[in-house]
Symmetry: C2
Subunit: 496 residues, 2 copies
Amino acid sequence: MSDKTAYTALVEAHRQLYRYEHLSAIVSWDRHTMMPPKGHAARAAAEGTLHAHIHRLRTDPRLVEWLEAAEQEPLDAVERADLREMRRDWIDANAVPAELVEARSLAASRCEHAWRTQRPANDWAGFLDNFRPLLRLVRDEACLLAERTGLDPYDALLERYEPGMRATHIDHLFGELKAWLPGLIARVCARQQQAAPIAPQGPFPVERQHALSLALLDLFGFDRAAGRLDVSAHPFTGGVAEDVRLTTRYDEADCLPALMATIHECGHARYNQNRPAEWAGRPIGRPRSFGIHESQSLFFELQLARTPALAARISPLLNAHLGPQRAFEPDNLHRLFTRVTPGKIRVAADEVTYPAHVILRYEIERALIEGDMAADDIPAAWDEKMAALLGVDTRGDYRNGCLQDVHWSKGSFGYFPCYTLGAMYAAQWAAALRRALPEADARIAAGDMAPAFDWLHTHVWSQASRWETDELARRASGEALDGRHLRVHLEARYLG
Amino acid sequence: MSDKTAYTALVEAHRQLYRYEHLSAIVSWDRHTMMPPKGHAARAAAEGTLHAHIHRLRTDPRLVEWLEAAEQEPLDAVERADLREMRRDWIDANAVPAELVEARSLAASRCEHAWRTQRPANDWAGFLDNFRPLLRLVRDEACLLAERTGLDPYDALLERYEPGMRATHIDHLFGELKAWLPGLIARVCARQQQAAPIAPQGPFPVERQHALSLALLDLFGFDRAAGRLDVSAHPFTGGVAEDVRLTTRYDEADCLPALMATIHECGHARYNQNRPAEWAGRPIGRPRSFGIHESQSLFFELQLARTPALAARISPLLNAHLGPQRAFEPDNLHRLFTRVTPGKIRVAADEVTYPAHVILRYEIERALIEGDMAADDIPAAWDEKMAALLGVDTRGDYRNGCLQDVHWSKGSFGYFPCYTLGAMYAAQWAAALRRALPEADARIAAGDMAPAFDWLHTHVWSQASRWETDELARRASGEALDGRHLRVHLEARYLG
């Protein structure tokens, strides 16, 4: 009999879970990309049944016994790290009673479903009717999670997306950011005021943009025999590690949003395609965190695609697929990729103003969870912060203000900060790469992206959840997360 | 407390099963249409786990108690029919021990996987190595099923596809067919010898053929908001009733195979889209049988599409989507749709020679299951029957002979007769429609297909599994299955 009986049982239980999660990922991808409208009700029922089954597996009482017994078993370091992640998964699944999970899930479905029509109708009052009870349930859940984990309620939600991160740490990081960001935005805008780049002239047929997107995936190293690219209303990376499904969306009037979305999702996709296959199905093989995941998509988008070197690589692809035009010349293309314009919409924001959108949401959602703000007070806070951070007036425009994101409507709190943590990590990785390999920039400019991909593979992709996030960062870059790298990056690119 | 407690529990159990089968149908469709090659291993593991779970649900010991208790409950006629189908599902799932099901499933996977390369390599000897053990397991399964059901072994397999049908009945139907079919084939071939129709001149780009296929789906009444059309190596209709996924395949050199495959699958698809929604998830709501399912696809293909009236409707669609050419003129098109040419390949066969392909396979597979023929003897039997029925020489050409179909390689026996039963039912439905509504042909010729669709909806689609098959046929057409209608149909069309 093995001396790792309990751990072996846990591995097998997680392997089962992994297979059900595979099914869940594929049908969810299908729902966003393929499913016809009338398929919705039957699919919701089927997915609900599957999620309930997955919940049963994650709350199987035998898991507790095995987790305790495995602590006493002679595990090696990798197995210990795996066990640490198994325990985290168990806490996440078992802290909240199934009835509360279900009530929150129902309230979220209702709120999100209504939001899809309330947003275009600018109907804040209607949204509030569904959002107030949803927020109450999310707070209840946060308090229960807090009790179980000993964390503050917001930290307990954050733990799901960015384990180990605490709001006090984010306060510190974002506090520094707030000190220099508005000034930087103002200086960059002033500097860019004179020379507007030439805009691409459409129309750009969808099939040609799709062929271009596939060429970009090849350029950025996506393995198309182990995944595919499709179209959805909002780009995402789904599917499973062995079969990554990424999406983009095409606008016939402008070819740049799809191009940048494809490159961004490709960063997520390569992280998924390149975690160790021998850890597949084990919690240690999962992505480290949402912030680390975002650091990969943002490395591809910000540290690679928005450089002059990549503009020079992308320019001939644009010419080949969409026909040459002056807007696609490398210098102009790079200026298009680095154009800064404060605006109302987060997902359309450039990399300089984007953190302002995140800070605003973080401050509001934290206050909502900690009970320092009521749902009714969101618009006033939103307007005030948009004016202060970006000088943008959002009063009365809920649709392009506090109703613009899907996150809160589906009860998702604690996710927003990950976007900017990801941008900070991406800048930190780029700095570490340059220190480790001073010729990296020159090689990338010469058309060889291997230095970047190799560095990411060695330090992030191959590590999966082997280390807690701080340790991952220290091993990759010699230090825990430091927001200074984002500032250095932005100042060099936009004021250099 | 309800006086239908046991029946209610059964309904809930089948509703759960239905939801898992939904997941299974969608990921299976995805595997055939979307999945990239490297996704295979992880998908096989995920589907295997799902199928094992579905098997657990279908063999839940509580089902037996509920089935027995429900017999004593005051059920109405619809509930009794539902209970009858529940019992049939239970027998099918519980007659064979899980180990045998798994062993057969593994042997079938191995045999089918190897067949995919053995067929193009014409490697009969290699195929036999896998097929012998598979056939042994299928025979064991048939014998166990026979013991449990009191049927003969082949009938026990047939029961899965065509409940209520027996080999003695098929012997009678196919015996009559064999008496007149070779003579009919010879006369039709002689008659068609002089005037060959003009063949379409390609190439026909895939996107245009796809647009044409969508137009055909509209013409034949498919609800595109409740399903979709994609491409697979072999056309099929999958997905779920609420979200029907049908497929076709495009050949740039010839536009007619995709056209006819789309219309054929559309018949399956409409049967799935139009069974009663209030029976969804209950066994009574399932398709009646594979023969009845095939009668719908063949009604669309043979009784509708291959008529002069439909050639006149399809001709302008071909002109609009592929550009006009002489081959697309209605008269020529109808001659293309009714061209008879004895050949080696079943799926490429016309409606006159098709039954010969089915009779041959039925005779061989029945002998294999009943132990009257060894796997090694298949090629000799095949060659002899092809020569006798169609005058075609298949000696040594395994690839286009006994290796051409996937069915046996995956252990599927008892399915083949359903194709010709379906053609017989389709002819019988068409005759009943004409009797009930003498002006049907004229209305269809004038462009109004409602009479056909309405008849099918009333007599087949809306009935689902309400009646056993003979009763369904009697209620629809006044008689149980009678092969005479197929003969009358073929003689009228080809010798009239």
